[in-house]
């Protein structure tokens, strides 16, 4: 009976409505946070930073964003790459036009700009539903990428359309540019992710979140109990785009440092992977967003490590296998647990609750 909730009585709605109603969860989460904030920074090296942790954090953020839209509000979107691009280029423009603006502000403003763009591209969702909408969102993807590739103003008329970040300090430590120490970039992303993560969770467990889910589950009934579809859907698009925009900003400024829009925000490099994250992680689950991101970010690296470094296959054969296994795993996952890792986790919790008595 490791995972025992009996005997934990809630005396107030407040405690009952808490994010982690169970003491075990509180402890687990607390330790995780302590570890993430106080332990990791001292051991992180540039490989873990650039290859695993920072991309993980950034994509978690994008996944949360998409999950708000798709998982909670039921609007499937394939335009993630385009919106991340908006975030990235806003950051670049603001950075270059206001050299001494604080990076944190820059990132958040980029998020707001993306939110505005998101609202515009969300408008069709009123008439278009389901797959038609999903494919329609590709329009935003292709259009935005084209725009940033085509209009020189966005990349300050540089010779090639490449945009490169310049160094910015956060509390006196560089968090962008090549000289930024791993722990700094990591912590910078971590802070943003944790704060925004809680914000998202709070929205989901209050009015706005319930309106989204109402629209998702049955938009007609929702309308009849007084949920305005337009406002609700657009709010989902806006807030989701904000998250995606921020992640795009970090992706450019903190993670890659130099971006070529056509390649870095391609639907195959961003839009689909992020959709995988929320599906494998679990539609409509905060935990799922993180699990999914972790899975998608680490899997290829893990497979590569096993096949090249341990088994010693040649890089190319390994890659072929990687692609195959990767797709195969995806299918297996969807067959075994369509509701994603989050569901698996809650099942394990059930098991733990009964442990050691099986049933």
């Amino acid at each position: 009976m490791i995972y025992k909730e009996t005997g934990q009585y809630k005396s107030s709605y407040k405690s009952d409505h808490a994010i982690f109603p169970l003491i075990q969860d509180k402890i687990a989460f607390g330790t995780l946070m302590l570890f993430a904030f106080l332990v990791v920074p001292f051991f992180i090296d540039s490989y873990w930073e650039k290859a695993i942790l920072v991309p993980f954090l950034i994509f978690s953020l994008a996944a949360i964003g998409l999950n708000i839209l798709t998982g909670y509000c039921g609007q499937v979107s394939l335009g993630t790459g385009g919106f991340m691009a908006v975030g990235a280029f806003s950051t670049y423009k603001i950075m270059t036009s206001f050299p001494d603006l604080n990076i944190m502000i820059i990132v958040l403003v980029s998020g707001l700009i993306t939110a505005a763009v998101g609202i515009i591209f969300g408008l069709p969702s009123l008439r278009i539903k389901g797959f038609y909408l999903a494919v329609a969102t590709l329009a935003s993807q292709f259009f935005l990428v084209w725009l940033f590739n085509k209009v020189p103003w966005f990349y300050n008329y540089s010779a090639t359309g490449q945009i490169t970040v310049s160094e910015r300090l956060f509390f006196g430590v560089p968090v962008t540019g090549a000289t930024a120490p791993p722990y700094a970039t990591y912590l910078f992303c971590l802070i943003i992710v944790v704060v925004l993560g809680f914000a998202a969770k709070n929205m989901i467990r209050s009015k706005i979140g319930r309106s989204w889910m109402a629209i998702r589950d049955m938009d007609i009934a929702a309308e009849i109990i007084g949920v305005p579809p337009l406002k609700t859907k657009l709010s989902a698009f806006a807030i989701s785009s904000f998250f995606i925009g921020v992640s795009g900003a970090l992706y450019f400024a903190v993670f890659l440092g130099a971006i070529e829009v056509t390649e870095s925000f391609d639907i195959m490099t961003i839009s689909f992977p992020v959709l995988f994250m929320i599906i494998i992680g679990g539609l409509g689950s905060m935990l799922g967003s993180f699990l999914g991101a972790g899975f998608i970010v680490t899997l290829p690296i893990g497979l590569k490590f096993i096949m090249v470094d341990l088994i010693g296959l040649s890089a190319v054969t390994a890659k072929h296998f990687e692609i195959t296994i990767w797709g195969f795993l995806m299918i297996v996952f969807l067959i075994v647990e369509p509701h994603g890792l989050a569901r698996l986790w809650s099942i394990t919790k059930e098991k733990l609750r009964r442990w050691p008595f099986p049933y």
Partner: protein, 334 residues
């Protein structure tokens, strides 16, 4: 006729031709969606896989040669010099049908009545698997595909049209790639034979029944799963045709799988469930994007707006008909 008019016509014609190429891909999507409600993103990779296999058979490549050689230090590459196209095509068809059967066994069977989005994701997974296996089997370097379809500009048309221009203009005739004309012919034959098949054969009727209503079909004793194998087989075959067409134009290599992205706007324009929709949608997209590229594209000194234009066009269209051109009407009740 003025040269501008002739140019316009030329553009439209070429648009129609590319449209046919898109329709070829879209067709496979629609068939599968109708019959099994799966939005099969793997259709593009189907085309790639089919083309790879075809070339493999033609040139007698040893499947998995790289892998075998790497693991066992052997040095196999080819086991025969060449194979007649006809035979190779037949073999490829058989392979694609076998593939369909395997997919039904290993994937679809286990995913019946899941959410559409889940099925969609599964097919993306499938796309990865096929791409990986394709690479492992036949290697990832570019291959020249030639099944004897002529290509290059059509002399005849050029000569025929050169006179149409008004006097004194230096008009030099219209341009159409012969390959595309062939593609059109083949596509037409394909569609007609499909229509005949679904109208006048028992399996065809069963197929339409399933497309219409799964439960009902089941209740009159039609085996869903055999129908699915059939349908996936057919769209595998269509993918092969598409693969041959695109492969002849650009050589067979990974990028071939990206034609799926070209087919998506066609689908939303035409409606996921309508074969005529796929065809007409394809033509509309083809013409639309070519016209846009050549006539609007000029205004941004360098165009390349085809890609997004196709989607935006489809999007705008959807705003007026949310279910696409021929898609089933969406009715909301409580």
């Amino acid at each position: 006729m003025s040269v501008d008019l002739l140019n316009f016509i030329e553009t439209v014609l070429n648009g129609l031709m590319s449209g046919v190429m898109y329709s070829l891909v879209a067709l496979g999507f629609v068939l599968i969606f109708k019959a099994s409600g799966v939005f099969n993103f793997a259709q593009g990779v189907f085309a790639l896989f089919a083309a790879l296999t075809l070339v493999g058979y033609q040139t007698g490549q040893v499947p998995f040669a790289h892998l075998i050689n790497e693991l066992f230090g052997t040095n196999y590459h080819h086991w025969y010099a060449s194979m007649p196209n006809f035979l190779a095509i037949i073999l490829t068809m058989i392979t694609m049908i076998a593939l369909a059967w395997i997919i039904e066994r290993l994937v679809l069977k286990h995913l019946v009545n899941q959410d559409p989005i889940i099925l969609f994701m599964a097919t993306i997974g499938l796309a990865f698997v096929l791409e990986g296996i394709g690479d492992l089997m036949w290697g990832s370097d570019v291959k020249v595909l030639d099944v004897g379809i002529p290509s290059g500009g059509s002399e005849w048309l050029e000569q025929a049209t050169i006179g149409l221009a008004s006097e004194g203009s230096d008009y030099y005739g219209m341009y159409i790639d012969v390959l595309n004309i062939w593609a059109t012919v083949i596509a037409v034959i394909l569609v007609i034979s499909l229509a005949i098949f679904s109208q006048y054969t028992k399996t065809g009727r069963a197929l339409r029944a399933v497309a219409d209503d799964h439960q009902a079909a089941l209740s009159v004793g039609i085996s869903l799963r055999s129908i699915w194998v059939l349908v996936w087989g057919i769209s595998g075959f269509i993918a092969m045709v598409a693969g041959i067409m695109w492969g002849t134009e650009s050589g067979v290599q990974f990028s071939l799988s990206l034609i799926a992205l070209k087919a998506l706007p066609v689908l939303i324009l035409g409606g996921f469930t309508s074969i005529p929709g796929a065809i007409i949608g394809g033509l509309m997209i083809g013409v639309g994007e070519k016209l846009a590229e050549i006539y609007i594209g000029g205004y941004f000194e360098t165009g390349a707006l085809e890609n997004w234009f196709a989607y935006v066009m489809a999007l705008v269209f959807l705003l007026f008909r949310p279910q696409g051109l021929f898609g089933d009407k969406i009715i909301e009740r409580v």
